[in-house]
């Protein structure tokens, strides 16, 4: 009897812990309608476009791996709260299989539209197909999906053009000063279309100007700072004369900064030992380092706008309206020259 009581109490405790930990979705004036359970078959909950006040948006995040993503998530929550729309959110902790399973759980929960920031644009296709079968529209957040499934809207930055702009900024400076760069290039995750696009932007300018840019080391990071740190240390060991770094995300900045300090290369722009630093995203760390002259330029994804666009499009789709299949955030650059006038403090 004692054992049974122990079990009952243990399960009840865990359940209460789970319920306490559940995110509190924004409330609407009317309670959200729970979809009818299918009677005898396993078809997903089929829903007609929901009326105002009855919409629930599902959010599937890969991982909150940088300040850019924190801001993107905050912006989505704020917009949903302001619109009075309910939402339920799942985070896959950087696991593609878990994310697909979580999207299926969102379908089972009967949400009206799903916003997905995928871990892997190709691997997420099978989950999007299931959304298509269930008649649930999908909005891709920041990263596009692979081919084979129908996405209603993709909200993203023009990563290639943004990197081209910041590389051209460095190119102009190099032409003015006659400086040549030996570049250490970091690469994100090759399964992430954004990482590939940023690499393309870099290559477009670097390959067209081999007299200015010579890539002496490439470090694939899978967006992991520990790989960036070890890769940077190894690269400087092999090429001590590296004088420029291209980082495809600010999430790698602290690790690269640590490596530069260890090899005695962390100096501001007015010091001759300075390593020119080009980065991407717009985190507060990066902007602070531009103000301190350690970082030269950052291309900023407007995470606030992206989050807002995702929600606005998802809500429209949930209400049965049509949306533009591509919503671009043009982004902007913050550099040594304009950091004060831009007034952007970073995410």
């Amino acid at each position: 009897m004692k054992r049974i009581m122990c079990l009952v109490l243990a399960c009840a405790m865990l359940f209460v812990l789970g319920a306490c930990g559940s995110s509190a979705p924004a409330t609407t004036s009317a309670p959200a309608a729970q979809p009818e359970a299918p009677a005898a078959q396993s078809e997903p909950p089929e829903e007609a476009p929901a009326a105002d006040g009855e919409i629930t948006i599902g959010i599937s995040m890969d991982a909150i791996e940088s300040q850019m993503w924190v801001e993107n998530q905050r912006s989505m929550h704020e917009t949903l709260d302001a619109m009075g729309v309910k939402y339920t959110e799942v985070i896959a902790d950087g696991d593609a299989q878990k994310q697909n399973q979580q999207v299926e759980t969102l379908i089972a929960a009967g949400v009206d539209a799903i916003i997905i920031a995928p871990k892997d644009g190709t691997a997420i296709v099978s989950a999007i197909k299931k959304c298509n079968e269930a008649g649930i529209p999908v909005v891709m957040n920041n990263r596009a999906a692979g081919e084979g499934a129908e996405v209603a809207c993709t909200v993203s930055s023009d990563n290639t053009a943004m990197v081209e702009r910041e590389m051209n900024y460095i190119l102009e400076q190099a032409k003015a000063s006659g400086k040549k760069y030996k570049v250490l290039k970091f690469i994100g995750n090759l399964t992430d279309v954004n990482a590939v696009a940023r690499d393309e932007g870099f290559k477009k300018v670097a390959d067209a100007n081999p007299d200015v840019f010579e890539v002496v080391a490439e470090v694939p990071t899978e967006w992991k700072p520990e790989l960036a740190l070890s890769g940077a240390l190894n690269a400087f060991q092999a090429n001590p004369d590296i004088n420029m770094i291209f980082s495809p995300s600010d999430a790698l900045l602290p690790a690269i900064q640590s490596a530069l300090k260890q090899v005695d290369k962390w100096y501001p722009a007015d010091d001759e030992k300075h390593v020119t630093f080009v980065t991407f995203d717009g985190a507060k760390d990066a902007v602070d380092q531009i103000k301190a002259k350690y970082v030269d330029i950052v291309s900023v994804q407007d995470a606030t706008m992206q989050g807002k666009l995702c929600v606005e499009n998802a809500v429209k789709l949930a209400r049965g309206e049509t949306v533009d299949p591509n919503a671009y955030d043009p982004g902007f650059e913050v550099a040594l020259e304009n950091v004060e006038e831009k007034g952007f403090a970073g995410y």
């Binding site: 049974i4 122990c6 079990l7 009952v8 243990a10 399960c11 009840a12 865990l14 359940f15 812990l17 789970g18 319920a19 930990g21 559940s22 995110s23 729970q34 979809p35 359970a37 009677a39 005898a40 078959q41 396993s42 078809e43 997903p44 909950p45 339920t88 959110e89 799942v90 985070i91 902790d93 950087g94 696991d95 593609a96 299989q97 697909n100 399973q101 979580q102 299926e104 759980t105 379908i107 089972a108 929960a109 009967g110 871990k119 892997d120 644009g121 190709t122 691997a123 296709v125 099978s126 197909k129 299931k130 692979g146 081919e147 084979g148 995750n189 090759l190 399964t191 694939p220 899978e222």
Partner: protein
């Protein structure tokens, strides 16, 4: 009445925890009992249970097979690279069987390397399998250069995406793995030898049991089960990637331990691992439906493992007294 009570007592503790959890979920979690969600739970169970069945063998031996997760990743990319539309045998009628054979072959190779290293060099299983895990993960990344391989033939992916009612096709392969492993452990001499070697290898050797051969074979079983899990994984994901299953190991071990298998070896049934896997998946799904953040889910799973292990230890202490 006494016989009924005896029967109730003989049922694994995890069964009652699972029953209670399902009952609470049906009452408190919206959409938990829908047919779609049950299909979702069964679909999610396939990979975890298939690989856990193989890992169960190594735990029964008081060991562990860390390489199982990298076998899943490696088999997924090799299989996908063979049968993909742009792959080595893309478009050929024999692409799918060839890919499946290659995937099973990888599982056997890893099992052979693990088993051989453990019995020949007398290395602890966690060191050997940790090393092969690193080799497998590295090979998967090197083979694909980090790219995900999609465009798999529909005749293959239907196994992961199709279903009969609430039963996914992939569950058939999982059920076959469960049936074979359960029969091996409960009905064959090899099964009895595994329990004996797991309990006391020295006594087993003295009594004439081929200890080395038994250990060698059980790592092959583990490798094969991981390969089967890899087959299910790419069928469900419709793509192969080097990052697959990288976070799965904790769930695998949790399923086995809360299923009542002793990490010290020699004790535990496949039925317990089935219930353990089911509980892990149901916790994930129910808490996701409630919108619980992933870190809270992680805390809850950790708490359940602690509680289940404590109950198991208390039971053992009672038996000793």
């Amino acid at each position: 009445m006494e016989r009924v009570m005896e029967k109730v007592k003989s049922v694994n503790t995890i069964f009652w925890i699972l029953l209670l959890y399902v009952a609470l979920s049906l009452l408190a979690v919206p959409n938990f009992g829908t047919a779609y969600n049950i299909k979702n739970i069964l679909g999610q169970l396939c990979v975890l249970l298939t690989v856990a069945c193989g890992e169960h063998f190594t735990v029964l031996n008081g060991g562990v097979d860390f390489s199982a997760t990298s076998v899943i990743a490696l088999t997924s990319v090799v299989g996908a690279s063979i049968m993909s539309a742009t792959g080595l045998l893309g478009g050929q009628w024999y692409a799918v069987p060839a890919a499946i054979l290659a995937m099973l072959g990888i599982g056997i190779v890893f099992g052979v390397v693990n088993g051989f290293s453990i019995i020949t060099f007398k290395m602890p299983s966690f060191i050997v399998t940790m090393a092969t895990q690193m080799v497998g993960s590295g090979l998967a990344v090197w083979y694909t250069k980090g790219q995900t391989i999609g465009n798999l033939p529909d005749s293959f992916t239907v196994m992961g995406t199709g279903s009969i009612g609430i039963f996914p096709y992939a569950l058939l392969l999982t059920a076959a793995v469960v049936a074979v492993t359960h029969t091996m452990l409960s009905r064959t001499r090899f099964g009895r030898q595994i329990y004996s070697v797991g309990t006391n290898p020295k006594a087993s050797l003295i009594s004439g049991i081929p200890v080395k051969r038994t250990i060698f074979k059980l790592y092959i079983v583990s490798g094969l089960c991981a390969a089967c899990a890899g087959i299910i994984m790419i069928a469900q994901m419709e793509a192969g990637a080097s990052g697959y299953a990288s976070n799965l190991f904790i769930d695998i071990m949790a399923s086995i331990i809360i299923g009542g298998t002793s990490p010290m070896g020699g004790r535990g049934r496949i039925t317990g691992t089935i219930l353990g896997s089911l509980l892990i998946i149901i916790i994930n799904v129910s808490l996701n439906l409630l919108g619980v953040p992933w870190f809270v889910i992680s805390i809850i799973k950790g708490a359940i493992i602690l509680i289940a292990s404590s109950i198991d230890l208390l039971k053992q202490a009672k038996v000793r007294v």
